[in-house]
Symmetry: C2
DNA sequence: TAGATTGTTAATCGATTAACAATC
DNA sequence: TAGATTGTTAATCGATTAACAATC
């Protein structure tokens, strides 16, 4: 399937891709990387689906948005599919990241190794505390908020993580957008108001926990 | 609308509620709380939708899964709707939480104030490091992994946060489930294999960042 | 070949949006 | 009353699943 067959451009989506498909793509990638670590050469839509709780049809349909990656009768070669998904997600290239806010969460993130292996690398941190500015933390230089625009441009940073208190988040986001940032991972518990061309993903611990408490109480309401 | 009208049970869903509805409910709650902090008495489906990027119809439809909370011609009284959503999500009651793993992320969470205000409270932490066990961190007692079952039962803990390395996560999850935990917020970058009656929510920083890199590269592919 | 598995089409299912009578 | 806004039904839209010919 390496050749593009009748598809004009094998790795770019012709039709618009649902958000849910993209997050499953990330899950496939994570699972494929685990399988290769465990020595597997190939896998199948059935196996991937079973490991992640999806149907085999869904796995195949998701991948079909982007091209043909499998071999009928055989399945998918793990390393090939990993390569293809990374290309789709854009993580075959490195992504320098900015981190704004060095409270508890921000400092934990400077130390976090989890996304380094996926091509993301913190290369500038920002805070307003004058005792922090000018220092480095885990090898990452700390700058003042006022330098966001300059540093973002100098280091060609396109994605940023916001880990400041809720009250400061919108101002920080505005500064990042003004500096040319294209995507924001927001840990502050607020919905940011931003131009629609700026991509945002929000992670709010309270909201995640609320999904769990709802699931638990609604299940017990059903079952008595 | 305080009376239940023709609905048999105003706050429990008769039909099964989509996951997406529940997470929007959390967003409505967060926004309503912000509006009341800013002194607003009432709001409307149009205002809530605009603030969060949804249509007004969707806001009303989501709420309609659970009952009638609004006043035609007026909108929603913020404090009433907050109360109702908390009851739906189960967060009108306190939820003691267990935290497993006291690495960078785990320690950041012990200090995090964000979910306390929503009724969630860390009341036991677990680690295997003997220098940590027996200490307290931010007022939270630290126990050994081997005591998970005992402490979970003693403290009536139903929800847990897993913040251990990927390789340890499945074992920890199994221990939590054996101890009677009903829901897990998993920060480890693995899909946990658990009985279907156990609810899990996964938060993986790399995956969130991948959603952003995809959005950025696919947009530029489209626009040139 | 027989068995396995893909990619894709059609059928099903579910979720979102539009529209509007009912209400304040 | 006139204007605003709800709750709900019907129409639209989108996503998932089932089925199967094509392929190895």
């Amino acid at each position: 399937m390496s050749d593009a067959k009748d598809k004009p451009d094998e790795l770019s989506a012709d039709t618009t891709v649902p958000k849910a498909v993209v997050s499953r793509l990330s899950l496939y990638l994570r699972e494929l990387q685990r399988l290769t670590r465990e020595g597997e050469e190939t896998t199948s839509s059935t196996q991937l689906g079973r490991l992640l709780g999806f149907t085999d049809a869904q796995v195949r349909k998701d991948l079909a948005y982007f091209g043909q990656f499998g071999y009928p009768g055989i399945g998918y070669r793990c390393h090939e599919l990993i390569h293809a998904i990374k290309q789709i997600l854009g993580t075959n290239q490195p992504w320098p990241l900015a981190l704004v806010g060095l409270g508890n969460l921000g400092r934990a993130l400077t130390n976090y190794k989890g996304f380094g292996s996926q091509g993301f690398q913190l290369c500038a941190a920002f805070d307003i505390d004058p005792t922090k500015v000018g220092q480095t933390i885990d090898g990452i230089p700390i700058f003042h908020h006022d330098d966001i625009a300059r540093i973002v441009k100098e280091k060609n940073i396109r994605l940023a993580i916001v880990a400041v208190p809720a009250t400061a988040a919108q101002g920080v986001a505005d500064a990042l957008v003004a500096a040319g940032i294209e995507g924001i991972l927001n840990f502050a518990p607020v919905t940011l108001g931003l131009p629609k061309e700026i991509h945002t993903v929000g992670v709010d611990l309270a909201i995640e926990l609320e999904q769990l408490s709802f699931a638990v109480v609604s299940r017990q309401a059903k079952n008595g």
